[in-house]
Amino acid sequence: MPQPLNYLKETASQTAGPYVHIGLIPAMAGFDIFEKNFSNVLVTPNTKGERITLEGKVLDGTGTPLRDVLLEIWQANAAGRYNHPADRSAGALDDEFRGWGRAGSDFDSGLVTFETIKPGAITDRTGRKCAPHVNVWIVARGINIGLNTRLYFSDEEAANAADPVLNLIEQPVRRKTLIATRSERAGKIVYSFTINLQGPEETVFFDV
């Protein structure tokens, strides 16, 4: 027998269930318990960068919006730097931006929104330029293990065309599933997205 490697095994995932709000967004479950709460607003008045609203829905295999889904986003700041010690890239940190938020979908419409800033382009550890993007993690009843995807920005055509991750997607038509569409509404910049869990327009999900 060779020496044993003795690595531990990752704990198995389980669905977040229909009542995920109790633990992660108790106000949505209908009660107030913590002094401090996490939310879908990533910015303070002093955060640097272009204010944007990310707005979208997650659709099941019949095209019906999930009304009990929870999304988390993780993104770089306006200078393209993640607020984490492993990111040693050149962009300046912004003390007013953690870069993370979570949102539950509306119980009636299924709409999910985040108030954030548009991230800057990222320089990866190998020196590659990556198009600005937001990392998305999705959990809900019926989702056995959290789904990882990304949102890119429709007004970044040149950067998107050169992005190493988008270019990993074999079918150009599937790259479009990751592009949020920019529009202006009442003076606010809104990026709209649809995440399809199944069907001909199924969103690209990653095994990260």
Partner: protein
Amino acid sequence: MNAQAPALRDPRLNRPEPFTPPLGDNGFFQRDRAIHPPAHAPGYKSSVLRSPRQSLLSLENSISEITGPVFGHNDLGPLDNDLIRNYAKDGDPVGERIIVHGRVLDETGRGVPNTLVEFWQANAGGRYRHKKDTYLAPIDPNFGGCGRALTDDTGYYYFRTVKPGPYPWRNYVNSWRPAHIHFSVFGSGFAQRLITQMYFEGDPLIPVCPILTTIPDKDALDRLVAPLDLNASTPFDSLAYRFDIVLRGQRSTYFENRTAGN
């Protein structure tokens, strides 16, 4: 091969980089999907329309995946890890008083320090404090059912609560969830993000649960079952259960411990 062709020098050789330790790049071990429930698990009916059908696109860890949100004690309140007191209005909640404790580790066996652990559960009667839960068991006025903790330098966490009850749900007509506590854990990078559920040693509903049995690996299922830990119980007060959580291993021999606070 054409002998006239000029010798091509691999451009990477023009700027040699030092050979670094094999586990030193801060990426994570490949996730072993065989120990996780598949997305499409027909015995758990809700998964059928909510499971992707295309293959996941394999993505080597970039800076977007090895980084993740940093939390500190400033994010928490003093009662956040005490579910017996954090929603008490006119007394303690009804139910078996228990302590749940353990460590958040990664697959290398290292503790994951300063990471956020969140937990939520039904009350002792199996009823959730949630506007969408209509089970006939009563709400407990003194029990919210959620809490959170930050692991210490060794990855250790603990909280106090009452043991949740089992409850019926609409999968098959007579489906019941074993007693369980939901856990959400972050780790140091977004690729380690995990939600799971802890079950209790000896619960006869475990082998017949349509959600638990989505896990194809018997050992992986057993690792979700917390044993009674009499050594950690408080005499004449609370029983204790031990639940260690393992996140994906980090390929790092020198990752700095993150400082608390933000």
